[in-house]
Amino acid sequence: MKFTFFIEGENFSKAGTASSEVKKILKQLNVDPKIIKRTVVSLYEAEVNVVAHAFEGNMNVEIFPDKIVVRIEDKGPGIPDIDKAMEKGFSTATPKVREMGFGAGMGLPNIKKNSDEMNISSKVNVGTKLEIVNYLK
């Protein structure tokens, strides 16, 4: 089963809408609440990253009998040094974004913690692709 949600860049008031939609679907599919929680927490962080750091993006959700695969692809500045970005506390967030309570540099580390597999690839000035896989069993 496939679903696609659009993510609007720079609109913090809408950040979380896509992950909430995915949560609704997973609840309807009777997925274990603990797995839903992990998935939604990581999707929320990924969604916020698109809002905060990129121009726009899509969240593509694919649900298989044994796993949930989510690809978040954005058009944006990309990440020059992924290893660095993965470090706890590293952030390039602007003061404006920090004022809104985002930009603690814990997003990517939290995604890693809350997913079974995480793949990230990025091209500077093109965009970022993030894949999150959570197994259902």
Partner: protein, 455 residues
């Protein structure tokens, strides 16, 4: 899917219900459908919040109560009161008068349940320290919220504090006290005067307890009327009740918004009104709100002052309760050397825990995920042909709800009035068939011939 039977005090009076769909549209768990022209409440989904009752224009939804005379089955008859009751009466009616009338009605003891808030606060503090990994802690105070979390936010169930609310602590305190005074268990009847339907459900189908500690429930509006009547008719001349107690500010404020949250250190939030609560629970579930220690959640607007069985305007009731708390605080009429309840502290602490609270999601389409996926695909296909205007004319609150009902075998797609028109135009159903379907949803009466010129 669910086997258990849940008791709900909210009942639709079929003779009065006009099938107007107001309740169906406000129910926060989408528990209501209109069938045969009458609102029908799904017992598995209802959380007893009372929103439907508040929205009904013809008072067709009522809170069923126990027969009052049942109190006389017991030798010792204890009336447990919520402090909000005292906020319902005009200023010129004294606490003493209210207590006296309640005794005259036939009770042998009167006790305000929120008095045990002092003990609960202390135990909660230790509980939160001991179980710190379960942070954020959600209060178990409001039964409608506990049920809401069970059915809609199953992942959050484990954050609910597994301690008895004051109503149960007070009940076990009073029962034990009377036992010590020499009465046997079946001589003691404990009755709760309830401000809402949710507390009744909590008494009749307790969550996290094997049985209830309360023998019966009396609706607060009933007591309100009795007290006013008795005072207006000047019946209660001799005041039976000796006012020799002291109630803390904490106890009097307990049922009001921030009553609990103000007691604990750390980051504490107090949220009232069920839609606000749902919004916060969504965020909590997504971990959009983190770093919170304690969350007080109440289904009613302005907490229990807004309970469905209250009679006074909630703002006035709150003002009175604040005044009452101030009065006790300033005058401390007679502070008992040592409160009687203190002797029972060890006993209460021993019995204050509750068992596990089980999630029972109403959201999943099927227990089997593959089946659920198939159903979801079907729902999405059905939604493509429904008009998505959520008119409710099919007897379901939204097109999405009708689609789900169809897939679950609880409704027919042709209940949609738009589809009916299309199918009729294409000759796939006859006008008579279309009419029959609508009659099934809305009842025969709705379609009785009415002549415009008659009005």
């Amino acid at each position: 899917m669910e086997k258990a039977h849940f008791y709900h005090a909210l009942k639709v009076v079929e003779e009065v219900c006009i099938g107007c769909t107001h309740c169906m549209n406000v129910c926060p768990t989408s528990a209501i459908r209109v069938k045969n022209g009458i609102a029908d409440i799904n017992k598995n989904a209802c959380v007893d919040c009372g929103e439907c009752l508040n929205s009904c224009p013809v008072n067709a939804i009522i809170v069923e109560q126990d027969d009052f005379s049942q109190i006389f089955h017991y030798k010792q008859r204890v009336a447990l009161l919520p402090t909000v009751l005292l906020g319902q009466f005009p200023d010129d009616i004294s606490e003493k008068q209210i207590y006296s009338v309640i005794l005259e009605l036939g009770f042998t003891h009167v006790y305000e349940v929120d008095e045990t808030a002092d003990i609960l606060t202390e135990v909660t503090k230790t509980y939160m320290q001991k179980h710190h990994q379960e942070r954020p802690f959600i209060s178990s105070f409001c039964p409608a919220i506990v049920r809401l979390i069970q059915v809609k936010f199953p992942a959050l169930v484990e954050h609910i504090i597994h301690l008895k609310p004051v109503i149960d602590i007070s009940a076990i305190f009073y029962r034990e006290k009377l036992k010590n005074e020499g009465f046997s268990d079946d001589e003691v009847g404990i009755f709760y005067v309830t401000p809402c339907a949710a507390k009744i459900a909590a008494v009749k189908s307790p969550v996290g307890e094997d049985k209830s500690f309360i023998d019966g429930v009396i609706n607060m509006d009933f007591i309100y009327n009795k007290v006013l009547l008795s005072i207006k008719q000047n019946k209660s001349k001799e005041l039976k009740y000796e006012l020799n107690k002291h109630i803390s500010r904490r106890s009097i404020g307990w049922t009001l918004t921030n009553g609990e949250a103000s007691q604990y250190s750390g980051r504490c939030l107090a949220i009232d009104e069920i839609h606000n609560v749902i919004e916060v629970l969504e965020k909590l579930e997504n971990e959009e709100i983190t770093d919170v220690d304690f969350i007080e959640l109440r289904a009613c607007d302005h907490s229990c002052a807004g309970g469905v069985l209250t009679t006074e305007n909630r703002f006035l009731a709150i003002e009175r309760l604040r005044k009452r708390a101030d009065w006790y605080h300033r005058n401390k009429p007679i502070i008992l050397e040592k409160k009687e309840i203190e002797e029972y502290r060890p006993y209460l602490l021993e019995n204050i825990s509750i068992k596990s609270i089980e999630p029972r999601s109403i959201l999943s389409l099927d227990t089997d995920m593959m089946e659920a996926m198939k159903k979801m695909e079907k729902i999405n296909r059905i939604l493509k042909v429904l008009p998505s205007i959520d008119c409710g004319a099919c007897g379901a609150p939204r097109c999405q709800a009708l689609a789900e009902d169809v897939v679950q075998g609880k409704a027919k797609m042709t209940q949609c009035v738009f589809l009916q028109k299309m199918l009729t135009k294409e000759g796939l159903i006859t006008p008579q068939e279309s009419f029959d379907i609508s009659e099934n949803t809305w009842g025969v009466k709705r379609f009785e011939k009415k002549n415009i010129n008659d009005h």
